[in-house]
């Protein structure tokens, strides 16, 4: 761990506009306080970069007896997580302290980043799709490959896409945990009233051809209301964009000016402003859907149980509509990473916990009770999940759709503020009818600059 030396500026602290004489007068008051205050802050001495694989000889390590886990309990899963911990402690004797470190992924990430170098670092931390890379370039998390090999974790049984989301430079930096995808939800009653088949539209073109009938069946309301929030719109837009062969970036090369990316932007713009087959929700797209204001929407698989509970009508689910280039679906949600600055004993215990909750039985237990994806292939087909599918066939759609997922473009998930800039661009397209070329060009510049300053020097 780098020593966090105080910059020289701390010594001059009391000088805030004071004279030399009065500084002497203050010296007595300050006592040891100035010395106390002289710690903290980054060092400019090192060269930076991600933490190297430590090369720990795991065989010689004994696991610690107690670890800490920072979670936001995705999908209101606190009791489920507590049960997983209970089972783990019963099996291994290792205690796990579960900490509510925030209301959402961002809050957990803020706290984890701010905790660097303090004695408050957890052993395990939630690492969502847009945050784990930041942890990595900060040197805050441990690559899991070595310790996974030592523990004999069957990484091959994890859903390949979900596990490889955490891959960079030949290492994996987290294990998938509460993972979700966007899903097409529709109001079966309204679909029937519109004389449409009881299924999700196969393609966006098909959806557009259905839209007028759906609008008519629902008092002229635009049939699909989508959310435009940060961390959301640039995620579901992957489906439209990839479906048309576009992408935000290819590795570190921005492709926001690629004709297919621009075409996807224009396609979205056209659906909202010309065809009026899609609208931006005025407030909460899920509420619009469950209240029957909109006939269908795109929402996270994690919202499944909430939607089924709130809706007064029969809820249907289906794959996201395809584009000309075929089906395309992004994944999201959170994984769990191991903190780099803890002792190998702590890290080993943390890895054992990840191994445990990744066991097919535990994975299935978590999925069945939250609606998140079973991250292990064997769990997805196991008996427990079969029982879930039988009860809620809608859930099956979500799992089946995993076959069409792919790893996200780095411009969104790896560049600080990348998602923010893309969201702003999509908001311009959706809310202000700005041409895609113009909106994406601005985002492209901003992301390029952020990459240059906040990522490139650390690679």
């Amino acid at each position: 761990m780098n020593k966090r030396l105080a910059p020289a500026v701390a010594a001059a602290a009391p000088a805030g506009g004071l004279t030399r004489r009065s500084m002497l007068a203050l010296a007595g008051l300050l006592g040891g306080t100035a010395a106390l205050a002289a710690c903290g802050g980054p060092s400019t001495a090192g060269t930076g970069g991600a933490m190297e694989t430590a090369g720990t000889d795991w065989a010689s390590i004994n696991a610690a007896g107690k670890i800490t886990w920072w979670s936001n309990h995705p999908g209101a899963s606190k009791p489920i997580e507590e049960e997983l911990i209970r089972r783990f402690t019963a099996k291994t004797g290792i205690e796990v302290e579960l900490v509510t470190a925030g209301a959402d992924y961002d809050e957990v990430a803020q706290r984890f980043q701010a905790s660097a170098g303090t004695n408050n670092v957890p052993d395990l931390v939630g690492a969502s799709d847009v945050w784990w890379f930041r942890y990595m370039i900060n040197g805050q998390i441990l690559p899991v490959d070595d310790v996974a090999a030592h523990l004999g974790i069957e990484t091959a049984d994890y859903n390949t896409g979900l596990y490889n989301d955490y891959e960079f430079n030949g290492n994996h930096w987290a294990f998938p945990y509460a993972r979700s995808t966007p899903l097409f939800y529709y109001n079966r009653d309204l679909f029937a009233a519109a004389g449409l088949p009881d299924r999700a539209p196969k393609t966006w073109e098909e959806y557009n051809s259905w839209a007028p009938a759906l609008a008519e069946a629902n008092g002229g309301a635009v049939p699909m209301a989508l959310g435009s929030d940060t961390s959301w719109s640039a995620w579901w837009f992957c489906n439209i964009m990839w479906g048309m062969g576009g992408q935000y970036s290819k590795d570190w090369t921005l492709t926001l000016d690629d004709p297919r990316t621009l075409e996807a932007g224009e396609f979205l713009r056209g659906m909202i402003h010309e065809r009026r087959s899609v609208a931006v929700s005025a407030a909460d797209y899920v509420a619009d859907f469950t209240a029957g204001v909109s006939a269908c929407t795109i929402a996270s698989t994690g919202s499944l149980s909430g939607i089924m509970e709130a809706a007064k009508f029969d809820v249907g689910t289906g794959f996201l509509p395809e584009g000309p280039a075929g089906p395309a679906c992004p994944t999201g949600g959170t994984g769990i990473a191991i903190a780099a600055e803890k002792s190998p004993e702590q890290q080993l215990a943390a890895a054992m916990f990840l191994q445990f909750i990744g066991e097919p039985e535990q994975t299935a237990y978590f999925s069945a009770n939250t609606g998140y994806m079973p991250v292990r292939t064997s769990a997805a087909d196991g008996a427990e999940m079969q029982a879930v599918y039988a009860k809620a066939p809608q859930f099956r759609t979500a799992v089946d759709q995993l076959g069409t997922t792919r790893v996200q473009d780095w411009a969104r998930s790896f560049v600080p503020s990348g998602d923010q800039h893309l969201t702003t661009a999509l908001e311009k397209i959706m809310l202000q009818d700005t041409p895609a070329a113009e909106a994406f060009a601005a985002a492209s510049d901003a992301i390029a600059k952020s990459f240059e300053q906040n990522v490139e020097p650390y690679l």
Binding site: C39, P74, G75, Y105, T118, N120, A287, A291
Partner: protein
């Protein structure tokens, strides 16, 4: 003093200000009160509603039933009791010490004769202008280094210094009639007695004003406790409240509004009980100087 605090007692001369345009005055008063109170009523009503009563078009004004299930859900999901105790402790200690620090500092600045007093006063004034946000990252690092994350001192200490209070108290002390202080000196009173037996009683209105602002700020502080606390059992109410906002799911406004009621009602009740004192303290101060 009495004519300002209870102007109603002064003779109502016809033609005096305020006697004309009574109906318009009442209409304006009613409008102001309505604007202030209706959102709070709406919050109360929503806290009794089920999701399908909230998400309906047209709007449903009254809840179907008055059961407390949303409150139960809010209390079950997050430890409101701990939030409340933490908020109370942080507010009482934080605001109390802050007022004390302000009083003693202002007293020293006004009544003690030492060189460079102006410099110290400048330190106070200048501190008033430093936005909290500029110091938040370094302060976070410091508090973390001290191992004070998730502790009361970590929440309270960085914001404890009194700049605003010191400044107001100093201005007030300067306006105190010197005769009183001279009497106190003749009385043989030491500095501490002078402060607490002579100066403080004469400063009740200013103290009330500073206390109101300090208590309100401590109780409602959000950004700092959000950063230094990550354990639910150490969270204050505003930070804990946001835990009720769901992610990756449907926001249950009924539960969220129940939580909002739980955090607003105690402070509203306290204010209603104390408001006469606070408000008359403030307004009386205008007259007694």
């Amino acid at each position: 003093m009495s004519n300002a605090v209870r102007p109603a007692l002064t003779a109502r001369r016809p033609g005096g200000p305020g006697t004309r345009r009574r109906p318009a005055g009442y209409a304006a008063l009613a409008a102001a009160v309505a604007v202030m109170i209706l959102p709070l009523v709406w919050m109360m009503l929503a806290s009794f509603k089920e999701p399908d009563e909230i998400y309906t078009v047209p709007i449903q004004w009254l809840p179907a039933g008055w059961d407390l299930s949303n409150y139960a859900a809010a209390l079950e999901r997050v430890p409101f009791g701990a939030f409340f105790a933490n908020s109370l402790l942080v507010t009482v200690i934080g605001a109390g010490l802050k007022i004390l620090l302000g009083l003693t500092t202002a007293y020293a600045l006004v009544f003690l004769d030492v060189p460079f007093k102006k410099v110290f006063f400048a330190v106070v004034i200048f501190a008033l202008l430093v936005p909290q946000q500029i110091v938040i990252i370094p302060n976070y690092t410091l508090v973390a280094e001290l191992g004070w994350l998730n502790t009361y001192q970590g929440i309270i200490l960085p914001g404890l210094a009194s700049a605003f209070g010191t400044f107001l108290f100093r201005q007030h002390f300067l306006s105190l009639p010197q005769s009183v202080m001279e009497a106190a000196v003749l009385d043989g009173a030491g500095h501490l007695r002078r402060l607490f037996q002579f100066v403080v009683p004469m400063s009740a209105p200013t103290i009330a004003a500073v206390a109101l602002v300090s208590v309100v700020n401590e109780w409602n502080e959000y950004l700092w406790p959000l950063l230094v606390v990550d354990r639910a059992e150490m969270m204050t109410l505003p930070v804990g409240l946001t835990l009720l906002q769901n992610n990756d799911g449907v926001t249950n406004w009924g539960v969220l509004m129940a939580g909002t009621v739980l955090i607003t009602v105690p402070v509203l009740a306290l204010f209603f009980v104390l408001q006469r004192r606070i408000v008359s303290g403030l307004t009386a101060g205008a007259v007694t100087g």
